[in-house]
């Protein structure tokens, strides 16, 4: 039973990485899109690409937290005690990001839009960095169980955490660029398609380089993780590498839909490689999944909730994505409305 719920937890983490991660990545591209004029079109693509779906995407985070605190409460308590600083920073970032994105959509004046945009984009980078650093701290065995917090600083400023943070930001940016290449193709024209494709290609290379650097970092800093990633988790690591290369190939051939799927697969494979590498530990080498697991009845309740989510939320989510992809949902930002008014009335 504990194994099943651990898998459920990983499904949540994967979904958050693949969907929520792309939203963060979109924020990254918003941040580096340049001045107000030059960056206005990429930013408009960002806004339309994530507008209708971002809130649903971030529910996966809640899902992960709830499954963790209910099913593996000892690990949850330990993680939250030790990694207080990066997690608190992430919480701040989530508030600033969500609100500034929602606000930016509804204001017209450029200077204010820019202020909200800066907050949105900066926090879109900080939050995934923090989560990556948290994952690094957990995976490298720096979170002790048993009610005594670990080092409040070294637990997330160590080499593995830094690798995790940087890799998270880069991966999010990669995913977002791949997705938006396709989105731009749908609603923004060939120049934007080219814009994001170029960035997707660059990011794919960056992530690849980071992964190679990461091998050496892990060998020096997180022995257990390194052994496992090059051992039982190796097929998944290879699958991810192949997925990344495949994405590159498809992007150069302009097969955007396929590139999207492969990019998702590549990221999912990394997440699962991490999961397999940690197995059977929830906090490596200190606390196993079985030890941390809640009583069976609790695990059954969580599984039932998960089953209902599969039955109710997944079809709904599919409906949302289909409507969104068919352009039946209209982001209709304040600036669009203003533009239309201006179009209709040249004197305005």
């Amino acid at each position: 039973m504990a194994e099943f719920v651990a898998v459920v937890l990983m499904v949540g983490v994967t979904a958050y990485a693949v969907f929520g991660g792309a939203d963060f990545g979109a924020g990254f591209w918003d941040l580096v899109a340049g001045g107000a004029e030059r960056g206005s079109r990429p930013r408009s693509v960002v806004e339309h690409a994530i507008g209708p779906v971002w809130e649903a995407n971030h529910v996966w985070l809640i899902f992960v937290l709830v499954v963790l605190w209910t099913s593996f409460s000892e690990a949850f308590g330990a993680i939250m005690s030790t990694l207080f600083v990066p997690i608190a920073l992430a919480a701040f970032g989530i508030v600033l990001r969500g609100t500034s994105f929602a606000f930016r959509k509804e204001v017209v004046r450029l200077s204010i839009r820019r202020d909200f945009g800066v907050v949105f984009a900066t926090s879109s980078v900080i939050v995934p960095y923090c989560f990556g650093a948290v994952a690094g701290g957990i995976a490298s065995g720096r979170v002790p169980p048993g009610g005594t917090a670990g080092d409040p600083w070294a637990s997330w400023t160590n080499p593995t955490s830094i690798l995790g943070g940087v890799l998270a930001v880069a991966t999010c940016a990669f995913l977002a660029a791949v997705y938006m290449t396709y989105d731009a193709h749908r609603f923004a024209g060939p120049d934007m398609e080219q814009y994001f494709r170029r960035r997707a290609l660059v990011m794919a290379v960056v992530v690849g380089v980071l992964a190679i650097v990461g091998i050496f970092v892990l060998r020096a800093d997180a022995e257990y993780l390194y052994d496992r990633l090059t051992g039982p988790a190796l097929p998944l690591v290879l699958a991810s590498a192949i997925g990344g290369l495949g994405t590159l190939t498809l992007l150069t051939r302009r097969l955007h839909r396929g590139a999207r799927v492969l990019a998702m697969g590549a990221v999912a494979a990394v997440i699962w490689a991490w999961g397999v590498a940690q197995w059977p530990y929830v906090l490596p080498t200190r606390l196993t999944v079985a030890e941390a697991a809640a009583p069976t009845a609790t695990l059954v309740a969580v599984s039932i909730a998960f089953g209902l989510a599969v039955l109710i939320c997944l079809p709904s989510l599919a409906l949302l994505y289909v409507l969104d992809q068919r352009s039946l949902l209209d982001a209709d930002t304040a600036a669009d409305g203003q533009a239309r008014v201006a179009d209709a009335d040249p004197t305005a």
């Binding site: 693509v45 059954v300 989510a309 209209d330």
Partner: protein
């Protein structure tokens, strides 16, 4: 470095308490709008489609846009709360997560559904067919109800922990998820919050339109914008009085410590007066206030009347009951809730009688003035009710199982996160109001441009979105 560490080493418990209270107090203001505004919007939407009422449709469309902004703020402030469970109370979650967490597994389900359909509804105005669009809003209402029951079930469990046993190591075993969720306090407490959500949501939205009408905007659009939410609130108020009365009696029977604090009863006695105001001094004596003889006893059990015995605070060990100061806070919060609740009831009754007799609002401006104030008043009422249940539970985080001080984090930097979150939330609150006002002005300005794309307007080609500006 050492000096810095000294400065930073502040006792986290009071700060953790303050941060939790502050973030919850903020989030709870958004809750009613998240839960009930979709319902009011659908009323307007239904009327708009069924009767071809353009004003109602316009109202529904605008409301959904405001909802989108408030939902975003509510979602992120809610996310912060789930972080805080761990950041501020790691030992509580470590120990009781396997029981306390269960309602949240189901709450997650409702929240997910809500987030999905709110996106479809908000973004679907232009290109979905009218009735399909209307129905996409219905799951939001259902999810809001389910979510309320789930979250409050968790809170009720803290008052009435059930469905588990602690083993010798102090770990939760023998969990019965059904008993956890449907603990004894859950039905009434959840219902009380759910109806509060409709009551507060109704009064808050109506207060905005009451203010506009006072400023002379007496057209049909603003009238409708007032009538729909005010009617919802008017229906909710009397129901809330019945539910609240039941809940108070439940607390009398099952949470005597909280009840003693609410009624300011230091010593177990019969013929207890209902004291309005007043406080407990350091010696635990009631000082000041206006006593109404015997009323607390009568209300606690009308069958027994003045001979009803109420257990006093001092019958509990000092370290297992609210302090005198906390009891005073609970008592004041209780008085404020009941007092304002009664005032809101009178306002609703006034409206109901006049409407019943002549199908119109009361003509005097005083009615609109009162309705304009009722929005804030209803929020204060709800906050006061929440203070009653939360402060009344002190010093426990899980009644009779775990003290708040044993649950808190050992991280000494909580005062930093508290100040940070206080600054961020203040900024967010101010900005939210400014943005909502800017939206209203923008909507008003767009009235002159019918091609702005009203609800269910002719389809606009998707290619036009984000397209390059055309050279003239």
């Amino acid at each position: 470095m050492h000096a810095l560490a000294q400065v930073l080493a502040v006792d986290p418990v009071p700060w953790a308490r303050a941060q939790m209270a502050f973030t919850l107090a903020t989030h709870i203001i958004l809750v009613p709008l998240g839960v009930s505004w979709a319902f009011m919007t659908l009323i307007a939407n239904y009327r708009g489609i069924r009767k071809g009422d353009a004003d109602a449709l316009r109202l529904a469309q605008r409301w959904s846009k405001y909802m989108a902004v408030l939902f975003a703020v509510g979602a992120v402030t809610g996310t912060v709360l789930s972080f805080e469970f761990g950041l501020l109370w790691p030992d509580f979650m470590d120990r009781f997560g396997p029981a306390f967490g269960i309602p949240f597994a189901f709450e997650g389900l409702f929240f997910f559904t809500e987030a999905i359909f709110i996106a479809i509804y908000i973004y679907g105005w232009k290109r979905l067919k009218p009735w399909a669009h209307f129905w996409s809003g219905v799951p939001i209402v259902i999810a809001g109800i389910g979510g309320t029951f789930s979250v409050v079930a968790a809170n009720a469990w803290m008052n009435h922990p059930a469905g588990f046993r602690l083993n010798d190591a102090g770990r939760v075993v023998d969990v019965d998820p059904v008993e956890v969720i449907f603990n004894r306090a859950m039905p009434l407490q959840s219902l009380h919050m759910l109806i509060a959500a409709y009551l507060v949501g109704g009064f808050v939205v109506a207060s905005v339109y009451a203010t506009a009408m006072l400023r002379g905007k007496r057209d049909r659009y603003h009238r409708l914008g007032f009538l729909i939410p005010f009617t919802v609130a008017t229906v909710a108020v009397p129901i809330q009085m019945v539910v609240g009365d039941q809940l108070a009696r439940f607390v009398y029977n099952n949470e005597p410590r909280k009840f003693a604090a609410m009624e300011l009863v230091p010593e177990t006695s019969r013929d207890v007066p209902e004291t309005l105001g007043g406080w407990l001094n350091d010696d635990g004596e009631v000082v000041g206030g206006i006593p109404i003889p015997g009323l607390a006893s009568i209300l606690s059990d009308p069958g027994e009347g003045t001979s009803t015995k109420i257990r006093g605070l001092e019958s509990f060990p000092a370290d297992e009951r609210p302090t005198n100061r906390q009891a005073t806070i609970v008592h004041w919060a209780w008085d404020v809730m009941v007092g304002l609740g009664t005032a809101l009831f009178l306002l609703a009754a006034w409206f109901a009688v006049v409407w019943w007799r002549r199908r119109d609002l009361p003509r005097t401006k005083w009615f609109l003035r009162a309705a304009a104030v009722a929005g804030v008043a209803s929020v204060v009422t709800m906050e006061a009710g929440w203070v009653v249940t939360e402060v009344g539970r002190q010093p426990w985080i899980v009644v009779d199982y775990m003290l708040v001080e044993d649950a808190a984090t050992s991280s000494s930097g909580v005062w930093v996160t508290f100040l940070g979150i206080a600054a961020i939330y203040t900024g967010v609150a101010v900005t939210t109001v400014l943005v909502l006002r800017a939206m209203r002005r923008r909507f008003d300005a767009a009235e002159d441009h019918p091609d702005q794309g009203g609800p269910y307007s002719p389809r606009i080609r998707p290619e036009s979105v984000g397209a390059a500006p055309q050279e003239p």
